[in-house]
């Protein structure tokens, strides 16, 4: 038997990559999204301006970037801000956000669920309940169907 039949490297080839009809997402828009400004958010947190910190952390979401580090940092920052809220203040904070920010917040909440730390899941669940009351199941559907997410 010839030597080439002994190799099984061909089994590791991903044939779907070579399918000419494969759907490729268009490379979207600008790459100016480097994630929320950490310094600004930390400053607002230290001043106990929680609502301000929430607004700031929801700016510049790293949706289009392929850099995983940026996304990780943004996600951890958001969880930090959400954990610093008192449970009684959450509802008011959610009410102050506009529609796109609420959808974005829901995306961050689910991202936060993926990598739980000590208390984050409990905090995120409380936030989830309040955001759901405002935005309805539609916001969860948008988290599930978004092609580019945080």
């Amino acid at each position: 038997m010839s030597k080439s039949t002994l190799s099984d490297r061909f089994r590791k080839v991903d044939v779907d990559e070579y399918d000419e009809n494969k759907f490729v997402d268009e490379d979207d828009c600008a790459e100016n999204q480097g994630g929320p400004d950490e310094a600004e958010v930390d400053a607002l947190l230290r001043q106990s301006n929680f609502n301000g910190a929430l607004q700031a952390v929801l700016k510049n979401p790293p949706i289009n970037t392929k850099n995983q580090n940026v996304k990780e940092r943004a996600s951890m920052l958001v969880v930090k801000v959400l954990s610093s809220f008192k449970s009684s203040d959450i509802e008011k904070a959610v009410a102050s956000l506009d529609k796109t920010d609420v959808d974005l917040l829901m995306k961050y909440i689910y991202k936060g669920f993926e990598k739980p730390t000590d208390n984050s899941s409990a905090v995120l669940l409380t936030w989830h309940e309040k955001v759901l009351a405002v935005a309805g199941v539609g916001s969860i559907v948008r988290v599930l169907t978004a092609r580019k997410t945080v």
Partner: protein, 380 residues
């Protein structure tokens, strides 16, 4: 509001004849059943058996009284009524995946079929050879076409696709019609030209907007100047004619909507996985789409007194004392609504519309009754 339960299986698709006395529907199998209205009952009068796969689309041409059906067997048939029986004529679509939806054009001289082969087949009748031929629109479609709707000028066709975009194509066939005049969507309309495509093209103003979900349903308004579509990311969008048309979207709070239709020039009714129709109002001046209200029969909750024993039983079983029976939906349809069609009044002043769904039932909704029943409901 009347509701009639035809079957226990989902109704895959339906179509009405011109005087709304007969309805053709597919009971989730390879056949099409035609029911005739008999007073308040519906009786089956015809069974159209020709397809080898599930029938995914039916359309009934009102004036020429022909039915076109398309199915998962990659075929379409045009049925004509001869001597009281429906006779099929095969249409070669030249597709290699299932057909998904079919629509007669307004003048009924051609029809369009959307399929999983990532193309739209425009079929017209060739007199010399005495059979139906088709032309394909392929570019730039990249996934299954889920829904189609014709513009009143018989040339423009809107298509909603699984590649997250809603497009308007020109389906001008020079063999069967003269050149169309200019419209707000464009003036040059060679066959297959894309006159409008939804989706983000540059603006990053709305993070996450565009490219959201499969476009389940598209609908032109009566004048053809407005196009509405619903998408799987729970949004409903409206665009006004013109290539750089502004697209106004509303992210709704409901589950994804599967079907939409205009009932006046400014109001849309859409329905989907939430099992009840919903009204949306488009305001041109403000450029917004707003949620108008949930259109459904309000269920009278009978609050009888419950005994102490029942109270404890409820506490034991569901950790709450009230008798709210959460197993039953309070809406008229008990499962997702998959198709909506206008019965009376057209898309400009609809008086009645009909919905069919996965619960095998068909509901007929009367707009005037809805307007008076629901407070704060305004249909502009």
């Amino acid at each position: 509001m009347s509701y009639h339960s035809f079957l226990l299986e989902p109704i895959s698709c339906h179509a009405w004849n011109k005087d709304r006395s007969q309805i053709a529907l597919c009971p989730n199998n390879h056949e099409v059943h035609i029911y005739k209205k008999d007073g308040t009952k519906w009786s089956k009068v015809h069974e159209l058996k020709e397809h080898n796969g599930q029938v995914t689309g039916i359309d009934w041409a009102p004036d020429s009284n022909r039915i076109v059906t398309c199915g998962a067997d990659r075929n379409a048939y045009v049925w004509t009524l001869k001597d009281g029986a429906w006779k099929p004529t095969l249409v070669i679509l030249r597709i290699n995946r299932a057909a998904r939806c079919v629509r007669w054009s307004p003048r009924e001289n051609k029809f369009a079929v959307g399929s999983g082969s990532r193309l739209i087949s425009i079929c017209y009748f060739e007199q010399e050879n005495d059979w139906w031929v088709c032309k394909h629109i392929k570019k730039p479609i990249r996934s299954t076409i889920l829904s189609l709707d014709w513009h009143p000028n018989n040339v423009l066709l809107a298509a909603g696709s699984c590649d997250f975009k809603c497009r308007v194509f020109s389906a001008y066939i020079k063999e069967v019609e003269e050149k169309p005049g200019p419209t707000p969507w464009g003036s040059k309309m060679p066959f297959g030209e894309v006159l409008f495509e939804s989706g983000c093209s540059g603006a990053v103003s709305q993070p996450g907007a565009g490219g959201g979900g499969w476009v389940h349903s598209v609908c032109f308004s009566h004048s053809g100047n407005r196009l509405a579509w619903t998408s799987h990311d729970s949004t409903v969008s409206v665009a006004e004619g013109g290539k750089n048309a502004t697209v106004i979207s509303l992210s709704s709070e409901t589950l994804p909507l599967l079907c939409v239709t205009f009932i006046t020039e400014n109001s849309l009714v859409a329905a989907g996985h939430d099992c009840y129709p919903v009204l949306f109002v488009y305001d041109e001046a403000k450029g917004t789409v707003a949620f108008g209200g949930k259109l459904d029969v309000p269920k009278q909750s009978t609050q009888k007194g419950i005994s102490a024993r029942e109270r404890f039983q409820n506490l034991d079983r569901r950790a709450s004392e009230n008798q709210a029976n959460e197993k039953e939906l309070s809406s008229l349809h008990k499962n997702s609504i998959s198709q909506i069609s206008v019965l009376e009044g057209g898309r400009v002043q609809c008086a009645k519309f009909c919905t069919t769904g996965m619960d095998g039932g068909m509901a007929i909704w009367d707009v005037k009754t809805l307007e008076s029943a629901m407070k704060n409901l305004k249909i502009v």
